[in-house]
Symmetry: C2
Subunit: 331 residues, 2 copies
């Protein structure tokens, strides 16, 4: 079978591809485990060379997800699953509303329509976000039964995607499942336009001996999930029994709540264990980031994910050690 | 100022126009009461002659709301408010998914973009529905804080509209407000494609001496609101203080729960008071209607609407008497 990953050149997309390569099979539209013979990574830009951990089964293609024909050209087999991760992120969406609507809403519809056009009932996994929650009436703990009143355009388009995944599935157009993510860390590489980018930077930059400029105060709390378990959540929800998911196809992945201060303690602790001299952390609040982050949920409930067997992190130190093991090979 | 009512040739649209004609003024983008000098009723088809209760201030235009230029041509002044009622209804949306997406989702976006393109901050009132609620996890009582997991394409597009109204308002593109309606009765005229059409038919047809074929059993319960108070809710939410509404701009209008049996008792009682010999009611369940109605909420909470001063019906008999007074003038 073929696997399409939109946003496939991003951090989660690439690591999802690596996880599927390692597995070798996924449940196809037949309902049986099928060999994965092609993984197509689609993104607005793709690397010149195949990243580590991938092989000849993987192809990469750059293009514009808001172009319908481009998207239909990706979903070109009936034995297929689609992981739709491509998205303008939170900070980017606040800067350019129209771009967020074109990429997230129109692009998402193209993906869903392309999957609908196939025979069989392809599985479509959609990445949603903690950013669907927010606003005056947000409860202290958010989860699968919380009303979604997002306070970013990004979150609004993610809520819309959840609704569409449910309705396309109800209509029998495809077998849709939404993975609702807390903030994922520790992302390697450079900061991105997501307002949550500091949640990785506050660990990554010190471990790399660089200064981290922290745009929020250290008492800020966030619901976090390590990237290994985020990827495991995508694969696990893809493989889950559809009946067990029920008619609301969106499932909050597990996550734990940490303060930024706890993250800073964690990175110092794990750096010491690994004999790494960590770089400095400077608090320099950015009001534009603070206002977005202040609107996000901090406490996270994920009982449906747990019932479906989707894994949670052991603790903060484990996630930091995973980053060192996976992304600092020179050590 | 100008008022645009999409779906303006429909029952609620026409009666909203009549109510605005009687008032004469609404709050304009200036924040002051302004004289209404034009009410544009836009619909897919409009009557040849101006309906009763309207005057020279009212113009009618037929067109396709999924055509962007058509919609931008309606919203052609800065001193304007838009009531966006046009929609493919529940039964129609289940028959034609693509039509519902084109009219409800694309059409809605055109309306919102057209309002955004004006100077000032026009008020945009959007009609949502009880159909946003449903599914496995729906609580017994639904309201403003209930997670929306609609079980019709109609309901899905209404949930999306609520999300967009909130985000366009948050971004300062316009001053949006969503009126979330329970089932509105008693509608005059012929049955329509809404699965809830029988809620008016079971009163209207007997009063007109005709047989009512009831597509559901008499123990079915529904949350209902008389059309006079539905119209009052649109006007009241248009006039409400924006601060008092808060960041979730959607407000469930008041409503009461009745069984179909109680509706049948009511029509017999009020018919007798008015010396009307009522027509027969025949129960003939239609599985396609039953499955849609079974998914709807029956018990309705509207404390935010009450706090904003939006009115509820006195009782069932009052709403039936209103129908006789307003739509059976020969009596």
């Amino acid at each position: 079978m073929k696997i399409v990953i939109t946003g496939g050149a991003g951090f989660i997309g690439l690591n999802l591809a690596r996880a599927i390569i390692r597995r070798g099979t996924l449940t196809g539209p037949s309902g049986q485990q099928e060999e994965v013979d092609n993984i197509l990574l689609f993104d607005q830009a793709v690397p010149d060379c195949l990243p580590d951990g991938l092989d000849e089964r993987v192809t990469m293609r750059a293009g514009d997800i808001s172009d319908r024909d481009t998207v239909f050209g990706l979903v070109d087999r009936d034995d297929i699953s689609v992981f739709h991760l491509a998205s303008v992120v939170s900070g980017g969406g606040e800067k350019d509303f129209d771009l967020a609507m074109r990429v997230n809403l129109d692009g998402g519809r193209h993906v869903f329509e392309a999957a609908r056009a196939r025979r069989g009932l392809p599985r479509v996994l959609f990445a949603s976000s903690v950013a669907v929650f927010g606003g005056d009436a947000m409860p202290h703990v958010v989860g699968d039964s919380t009303k979604q009143t997002p306070q970013t355009t990004y979150g609004m388009t993610k809520s819309i995607g959840e609704l569409m995944i449910n309705d396309y599935t109800r209509k029998g157009f495809f077998d849709g499942r939404t993975v609702r993510l807390p903030t994922i860390f520790v992302r390697p590489g450079k900061p991105n336009a997501a307002a949550s980018s500091f949640a990785s930077g506050v660990i990554r930059e010190p471990l790399n001996g660089e200064e981290c400029i922290l745009p929020v105060k250290t008492d800020v709390q966030m619901a976090l999930l390590g990237y290994r378990n985020a990827v495991a959540g995508f694969v696990g929800l893809h493989e889950a029994d559809g009946e067990a998911i029920g008619d609301d196809r969106a499932v909050s992945l597990p996550g734990n709540t940490y303060s930024v201060a706890e993250m800073i303690e964690g990175v110092k602790r794990v750096a010491a264990v690994n004999n790494i001299e960590s770089g400095p952390i400077t608090v320099r609040p950015d009001p534009a980031i603070e206002v977005i982050v202040a609107g996000w949920a901090t406490h996270w409930e994920a009982s449906r994910a747990k019932a479906l067997g989707l894994p949670n992190d052991e603790n903060m130190d484990r996630v930091i050690q995973d980053y060192i093991d996976d992304f600092m090979p020179a050590r």
